[in-house]
Symmetry: C2
Subunit: 457 residues, 2 copies
Amino acid sequence: MSLTESSAADVAKAASLASSRLAILSNDSRNEALTALHHALSENKDVILKANARDVEIATTAVKKGDLSESVLKRLDLSRPGKYNDMLQGILSVRDLEDPVGKVTLRTLLDDGLTLEKVSCPIGVLLIIFEARPEVIANIAALSIKSGNAAILKGGKESTESFIAISNVISNAIASTRVPGSSIQLVKTRDAVSSLLDQDSLIDLVIPRGSNELVRFVKNNTRIPVLGHADGLCSAYLHADADSDIAVNVILDSKTDYPAACNSLETLLVHQDTLETVFPLVVQALIGKGVTLRCDSSSKSALEKVLPIEQLKFVQSSREADYNTEFLDLILAVKTIPSTPLPTAAVESAIAHINSHSSKHTDIILTSSKDLADLFMNSVDSAGVFWNASTRFADGMRYGFGTEVGISTNKIHSRGPVGLDGLTIYKYKIRGNGHRAGDYHEGDGGKTWKHINLPLE
Amino acid sequence: MSLTESSAADVAKAASLASSRLAILSNDSRNEALTALHHALSENKDVILKANARDVEIATTAVKKGDLSESVLKRLDLSRPGKYNDMLQGILSVRDLEDPVGKVTLRTLLDDGLTLEKVSCPIGVLLIIFEARPEVIANIAALSIKSGNAAILKGGKESTESFIAISNVISNAIASTRVPGSSIQLVKTRDAVSSLLDQDSLIDLVIPRGSNELVRFVKNNTRIPVLGHADGLCSAYLHADADSDIAVNVILDSKTDYPAACNSLETLLVHQDTLETVFPLVVQALIGKGVTLRCDSSSKSALEKVLPIEQLKFVQSSREADYNTEFLDLILAVKTIPSTPLPTAAVESAIAHINSHSSKHTDIILTSSKDLADLFMNSVDSAGVFWNASTRFADGMRYGFGTEVGISTNKIHSRGPVGLDGLTIYKYKIRGNGHRAGDYHEGDGGKTWKHINLPLE
């Protein structure tokens, strides 16, 4: 079946109606649905892993032919140790989080008998488009239900089999609960995306999870707001005063813990004064894990002086494009930050490089100075700015948010790992007793505002 | 001078650089600039009002010829009583608000020596496009500086003279402060919009203030997120049990206090049981203020029975389009909600009408029942949902936010009156001591997360 414009509208309308019912469902009812979802995905693990194995088999062939990247294959594979369990655990973590709906975050006495409240509520209808990563379906379903949003999910062709298996399990599980069946709709046809992107009067937010190309395609083809999970071009700046153990540990983990992830390190900025001290130690650890370095001339010359000859094959000359590349692989671009009389000037030079090259995802500094770390963290315009800690911590689970919808490199609404909060908005409620705005004015007989903050509970 | 693509990029680059410097400027420095701005606009009131009078003169001629609507003229006129003073007072109100930058809203101990903080920060670079309403320039400049954002402003042709006069005063005022000169750039050329909308790598948010056509044009022509201030199609639902004095006061104020405003009432839904009780009282008060009613057949018949003959010229038959129209004038669409055995069913019918017709701006209910009011406020999907209070309260000043950027009918980031909070986002800071993400795993030797909430300070 092809999803025509009218059926896209039907899907969106069904989601919109479901969202009105979801919006007034209690937290207990939403939690019951998550328990049912967890149970069903746990019971059907074998079926789902078998379906996933078929996707992995096809993808493995494609990788061998050079038609698909190794990183997509890694993201696709649900049998990777711990992955399925993490997915299941994620659903329970989300269920056990505080109810994000109905939180009063502002309460103001405007005047006697006239109060204003700012109250959190679901966004409405979400459209989530993703490529590989089949576990995203379960994550998103859990987050959407918990936050009272209806979701329309569209998977990529690499994960077709996994997607169908998981979607059947989810639909059956929800059918047994008070959550409306159309709260989670899984769209299987390939041509659905464009017509869904036209439904801006019914769909409130699009979340593309996948390549930068997908994100740009979506942004270019819709009036619906887009929560973009684009590239992860993360950088580390190794300052002159960095502790060598900390530098080695953090950079090695950032680059090699899971190179296919968006929060992995892609560019290393090295202060000139570390070129013959800490930097070679970092590089030897990286080479030990098979990392190839694409170096500017200063850092390359320094390495050529100190590295044993058999390691030099891991050291290549960089081109400018390397500093704009998300390798998602065991490759690291290296650039030297020249020494400056004032240490802040070197940090500012690193900041300038990062602000003009990074994807505003996560960038870190290695330094012993709290002041320089603060300067870096306040000035780097990225969702995550870390001091002496791995880029790999940029993750919703690690932050304690339960599972995540994705990592946003947007500058509005939700930034960094998007958890439940990112799927809510708020409304303003006023309760009065016949109050008229026209009564509040300067001059004779005009009323004045009280604007007194009231306790939130 | 025409603003070509390259000069649009220059403007955006200058704004982006200014935003990096603004981001680390203290609240005191930003406040000093606001004091200077207030002083300069106060000193130059005569010059600005003279320029505005020229715009008003041209617009008045255009209204007479039928080329411009009365409502645009009203929005344009800065000499309207209290308007200039409100503009000046708005700047001081914004200055005296709490610093929105650097607020820590989450602090989590991830593990020993590893802490996560969520800290508010400016969005970066804003592009604000507006039509009439010259006071918006001062509002936006104040809000942008206070929140540490750089802003590019583009005004409409109706306010050209006012815009030039105010922009000169603002530029001179800022030049004397520590706020970078390019923090507020005023673009005067007409062809600038399209090329600025292309600068999605440098501009973080577009805020169109004006007609629905402008908002749609902007949304259709940019990848930059848009904070849309679209139509204000506000509705009131008059339930059977509403107090008649409250109903008359609130509906009259909602419709007639300032009909050209987006928070004015456009549709009245009347419960069938009020047609011969409260409704005629409301209508007589409205007709007393010159309001024409476009009624469905039930409400029209009811009025024909009770109104004196000379008032019947204010009662017309409605067409379906009237329920989707923002009149911005002394016209009100009226629709009857049939009686139902259960009162909740009538409220749900009103909710369904509103959710499918309103612009998600502000909708109100008149009822004596707290339960029905709660049902209405939880189910109506609008930025403002009020009980027994005028739609006209939907306003940043009235909410106590200082002045406002606009009223957002978006479902993400910022909804309703957008004040300072809507111009900030947040970043995540992690401070560690060489922590590696790879150390946290299940099984032998794996570390576990603490995820302990720490006090915010």
